[in-house]
Amino acid sequence: MTTQSPERVRPAPIKAVPVRRTGQWISAALVVAVLAALGWSIATNENLQWSVVGQYLFDSSILKGAVTTVELTVLSMLLGILLGIVLAVMRLSANPVLRTVSAGYLWFFRGTPVLVQIVLWFNLALVFPRLGFGSLSVDTNSVISAFGAALLALTLNEGAYMAEIVRGGILSVDQGQTEAAHALGLTGARTMRRIVLPQAMRVIVPPTGNEVVTMLKTTSLLAVIGAEELFTNAQKIGARDFTVFPLLLVACFWYLVLTSVLTLVQSKLERRFARGTSHGAPAGPGALQRMFAGRMLRSPEGGAA
């Protein structure tokens, strides 16, 4: 009767028959079949005039329109984010004037459709024929072209939505961070810039990425003021020879391409701002590996234990 338990010999590893995922395979097959049928129907549909789609897919006017779309998206998002940060900080300020002005701005620009805002800025000259004071004024219309009105409308509108996203991000940062920074003697502005905002970015980037993707498509509304972006240019070609639908498909293609690129950029950015947390570097097997993990665990010999 010894008190010490002897070392045990390690038995053969467990070889269990895996669960049959018949249901999964059947539904997968169904989905593939439906998609294939749909795909075939679309590919062979004459009304879609695929030859026309091919003809204009890389048309220089379409490509230029896509470039303009990207330019407008990038510019208005950058400016909109800056504006949003300013508005968010104002909204959280101790100063009641700043708080109210910010709240009022948000109320107006989130409360009116962006299409209406675009038309308003384009026709600003109706309200203010000249901008400026006395001899230092300029003719409104010469300052605000279609592109200018577009940028104004998109930036000011986006600023309002970004303000709420940034505010949410700022509020998500633990109060203790601000206290620690203040306790060290950092002023409010420094604390916001160096401590709170960088941490808020983790919460801000995903919905912001969403906003960028949305903005990319919102630019298509600029067709109402004839801005030369992707949708307008597709529209122009389509009206010429009544190839409206195929040109819409061309526009869709490029919107999809641009959206995909943006999504990739977003995931890179998320990684960067998650530096220092568990989301910063991916660990463990990827999605594909996990899907076949069940297979890998099965031993080649097989057979029941």
């Binding site: 006017s61 219309n141 067709a223 240019n233 529209q235 389509g238 010429r240 020879d241 009544f242």
Partner: protein
């Protein structure tokens, strides 16, 4: 200048019938006629130039607003930048006579007049029909006579022959156009009790698309445009005009703000000269739109 409406209508009817049968009989695959042929260059007329307001003279250019999704009046050329069509040709000829450059800007149709109010354009040339209502706010220099047309699928499957056949059916139309207004009026008169379902669209081609897809039984548009589309799209085999009789002829004019009467008069005079020297006829012939020819250029000549 007086002319009896009735005789004018009859002449127009004959011309329209002839024109539409001619166009539909063509059956060619591309644009009717040689629309790339250049128009005779005009030399500047000093007298006309001096009629221009000082601001335009010093600017040296006329800024014109249009919606270039409306061939044969205005559309984009292959380069998708140059605007071509009846209106650009006429406007460039006018500009040459007046000794100023002409700059066309494209924007959505229902935004044109607002932009004119805001001073973004000096005038609007977009095949805008002149109506008494619009004349309350703007001045029109009428240079073309149009009628309305009902465009249906080739073969006229729904058997539409006139306005009364549209009652109770869905019809597509350009948003903020006179045609849209007219459909509304039909619903008060001919179709009261069984109204037309009016579908308004951003541009005329979008409206036409609804006829092709079957969502709407017809599109209600300007006669010249309807005839052009019926003749050119799908080699003339996709659409046809349903009406054989003239429908409500109305003048088409360039639109000016009320306070720009000086510019308006200068443009009117220039257009008169184009009629006198035959260029006007030349341009209309080029686009096979002689059905809309007018004898003289009137201001605010709407009758309805």
């Amino acid at each position: 200048m007086t002319r009896t409406t009735r005789s004018r209508r009859l002449a127009w009817l004959a011309a329209a019938a002839a024109a539409s049968t001619l166009l539909t009989a063509c059956g060619g695959s591309s644009d009717a006629g040689d629309t790339s042929a250049p128009v005779a260059e005009q030399t500047m007329d000093q007298q006309l130039h001096d009629m221009l307001p000082a601001g335009i003279q010093s600017a040296g250019k006329l800024s014109i607003g249009t919606e270039a999704l409306y061939p044969p009046f205005e559309s984009f050329a292959e380069d998708n930048k140059t605007i071509v069509g009846l209106d650009p040709d006429i406007a460039h000829a006018v500009g040459q006579l007046l000794g100023v450059d002409v700059e066309f800007t494209h924007t959505a149709f229902d935004g044109l007049l607002t932009a004119l109010d805001g001073g973004r354009f000096d005038l609007v040339a977009a095949a805008v029909t002149d109506t008494k209502d619009r004349e309350k706010q703007y001045d029109f220099v009428d240079y073309f006579l149009t009628g309305q047309a009902i465009v249906v699928k080739k073969g006229n499957p729904e058997g539409i022959h006139g306005v009364t056949d549209l009652c109770g059916k869905p019809v597509a139309v350009l948003k903020a156009s006179t045609q849209e207004k007219l459909l509304g009026q039909f619903n008060d008169d001919e179709c009261s009790g069984n109204p037309i379902e009016i579908g308004s669209f951003q541009n005329d081609k979008d409206a036409l698309l609804q006829v092709q897809s079957g969502r709407d039984v017809a599109s209600f548009t300007q006669d010249a445009v309807g005839a052009y589309n019926s003749a050119t799209i799908g080699g003339g085999n996709q659409f046809e005009l349903a009406n054989t009789e003239a429908l409500l002829p109305t003048p088409v004019g360039m639109v000016f703000q009320k306070e720009d009467s000086q510019l308006r008069d200068a443009v009117q005079a220039a257009l008169e000269k184009l009629i006198a020297n035959g260029t006007y006829q030349e341009i209309l012939t080029k686009y096979q739109l002689t059905s809309g020819v007018v004898d003289s250029i009137t201001v605010n000549g709407a009758t309805a």
